[in-house]
């Protein structure tokens, strides 16, 4: 069982992290990720069995980034011609069901953190989209706080409500 102190610490880390996203503080957000991080979003498909629905490595994903490409995404969003987010969407992030465990096969102090995620995107006048799924993070101890050593975002939608212009 995770201690209440650890649970609290991780929860506060995650709440502050998603607020950076809601507020568009992307450079600050990038700093939370380790240099060797992987930011992955697999596709979902409707399959006969529950296990097959989250498609694995042999399938095309939606996103499979390293830190360099995450930086490039942020750099692009800052460009005045990135019309998809200029003017910016209004975003609200909800995370819940936060589970904290010792990392399987990780170094001492590494954590596996799962949470549910809902992101509401309101854009211009009538565009309203909601992305729902879960996140699986590997957190690494770093100077009394954490670094995200990998993140997998598994949305529940097989047909996404819109193309993706935001982070999860």
């Amino acid at each position: 069982m995770t201690s209440p102190d650890l649970q609290y610490k991780v929860e506060q880390f995650l709440y502050r992290e998603v607020r950076m996203l809601a507020e568009g503080r992307y450079e600050e957000w990038l700093d939370l990720f380790s240099e060797d991080t992987r930011y992955l979003m697999p596709i979902r498909e409707t399959t006969a069995t529950r296990e097959d629905s989250e498609r694995g490595e042999e399938f095309i994903p939606h996103i499979d980034d390293d830190k360099d490409f995450m930086r490039a995404r942020v750099q692009r969003l800052r460009h005045h011609l990135a019309h998809a987010e200029h003017p910016p969407s209004r975003l609200r992030y909800f995370i819940s069901n936060i589970e904290v465990d010792d990392a399987e096969g990780g170094a001492a102090g590494d954590l596996d953190v799962r949470c549910n995620l809902m992101v509401y995107q309101s854009r211009l006048e009538r565009t309203e989209k909601t992305f729902v799924g879960r996140r699986e993070d590997r957190l690494r101890q770093e100077n009394g706080s954490y670094q995200i050593a990998s993140r997998k975002v598994v949305l529940d939608q097989s047909l996404l409500p819109r193309s993706i212009t935001i982070f999860f």
């Binding site: 596709i43 498909e45 409707t46 399959t47 498609r55 095309i60 939606h62 995404r73 211009l124 193309s163």
Partner: protein, 452 residues
């Protein structure tokens, strides 16, 4: 269309197209009938369903279809709807099945589409239901071109070869260049756009004009460091590009005709090592066997097969992108997209392709989402009655003569950038909408020509 004639709304020779065609529900309804129920539509690639029983699903217009390889090895496509009460027979995206039992009343169909069993056949239908007549409704015309499976709801439609026409010369480049054949990476990305399907299709058919402004944020990135095989890194090189339109409404853009794209691949390959150099040379040699002109063209690079199937193919070192703009109402479409590579490409090229696809013209890429913003706001700005009285402007390079001097290259070659491909796309659209059947000649009058 009752009182609307498409030719009154589209004056392609003047470069004027009414905004109405992007929003009007009556026009949309007529498109489903006159275009989507009569054109050859892309369904799937054979590499997605290699074994007997393998299936995948798609849409033809708004009709759901099941593409299924029978135990006899033959690929067929069916309306994905039970003949009894219409329930969706296959509700998964892809897999392998010997048969599907309809969830509603249990009518069961085999993978040749045949109706196998019907509950209460003896005591309810008294053994008299003609099972031969009540198999799944088959797509009457289905043909594979180099592994790309197309279907047509019109049993009297011209052959796929005739439909593709001059485009075959270009598709052959993609198909022949691919060592071991084209292979689709499993899975598909899907997302919705609140926009009209045509604004997406015409974007690929020839709109290179939008690249600098719509995608200006992507061009500034350190792509060279991030992805060394992406040909975007050569944007600063002055390449001689051309747009090429073909009869039948097909169009591709950003062609080079003098071997520039293979030279770029050779430069990139040299940096990547001997295995990649050999691979590029082998791809090129295969094209030289086709023809000298095709070897010089080397890659497509991006365009649209009428009406709604788009392709990205910039290089042997980057992924082949396959995109379907599936109509879901006058103001709504779904994007279904796949990435493909050569079956026998070096593993490093396959690995790069998988990642590269996700980063550019893709759900979350640095290119696709800016297109979404355009497609949605273009469509929604046509909703008002005043907006619908206006025309869109397609006058870029209007009246400019076609390029000549490339006698071995089929189609109508325009200088880059132009809107000639779009004008021809809509000319073909008009013919299908008004005549109810395709007329091949897009050019009614002889064109002046200049030397390329």
């Amino acid at each position: 269309m009752s009182d609307i004639r498409a030719r009154d709304l589209v004056r392609a020779d003047e470069g004027l197209i009414s905004r109405r065609i992007f929003f009007d529900p009556e026009i949309y309804r007529a498109e489903l009938e006159n275009i989507f129920a009569k054109s050859w539509l892309y369904l799937a690639h054979e590499s997605q369903i290699p074994n007997p029983g393998d299936y995948t699903t798609n849409y033809m217009g708004e009709d759901p279809v099941l593409i299924w390889r029978g135990m006899d090895g033959k690929v067929r496509a069916f309306l994905n709807s039970c003949r009894h009460r219409g329930m969706r027979v296959c509700r998964t995206d892809a897999g392998n099945a010997r048969q599907f039992a309809c969830p509603f009343h249990g009518w069961t169909y085999g993978n040749s589409g045949e109706l196998k069993t019907v509950p209460n056949f003896e005591d309810g239908y008294f053994g008299e239901l003609d099972k031969e007549k009540w198999g799944l409704h088959a797509v009457p015309k289905l043909t594979s071109y180099g592994g790309f499976i197309f279907g047509n709801w019109d049993a009297d439609a011209e052959s796929l070869d005739d439909y593709l026409g001059d485009l075959r010369w270009y598709l052959d480049i993609l198909i022949e260049r691919s060592l071991g054949g084209v292979e689709v990476i499993p899975g598909q990305q899907r997302y919705s756009i609140d926009g009209n399907w045509k604004i997406a299709a015409e974007n690929f058919v020839g709109d290179s004009y939008h690249l600098a402004h719509s995608h200006g944020s992507a061009y500034g990135l350190p792509i060279r460091q991030i992805n060394p095989t992406n040909p975007m890194v050569f944007r600063d090189r002055k390449l001689e590009y051309y747009d090429i339109a073909m009869e039948g409404g097909h169009g591709f853009t950003q062609f080079t005709l003098s071997g520039e794209r293979v030279e770029i691949d050779r430069m990139l390959a040299a940096e990547m090592g001997p295995e990649i150099v050999e691979y590029v040379e082998e791809c090129h040699a295969r094209l030289e066997k086709l023809s000298e002109a095709q070897a010089k063209v080397y890659a497509l690079p991006f365009g649209n097969v009428f009406p709604n199937f788009s392709i990205n193919d910039f290089s042997a070192l980057s992924p082949i992108g396959l995109y379907l703009w599936t109509p879901k109402g006058p103001g709504s479409l779904e994007v279904w997209q796949w990435a493909a590579t050569d079956r026998d490409a070096p593993q490093v090229i396959k690995d790069i392709a998988r990642i590269d696809f996700t980063r550019f013209q893709s759900t979350a890429g640095i290119v696709g989402p800016d297109d979404t913003e355009n497609f949605e706001q273009v469509t929604q700005s046509t909703a008002g009655v005043v907006g619908q009285r206006l025309d869109f402007n397609y006058q870029l390079t209007l009246e400019r003569e076609l390029v000549e001097g490339f006698d071995d290259v089929p189609g109508y070659i325009s200088t880059y950038v132009s809107e000639e491909n779009q004008r021809l796309f809509y000319k073909h659209w008009v013919k299908l909408m008004d005549d109810g059947e395709g007329a091949r000649q897009a050019y009614d009058k002889p064109r002046l020509a200049v030397q390329g």
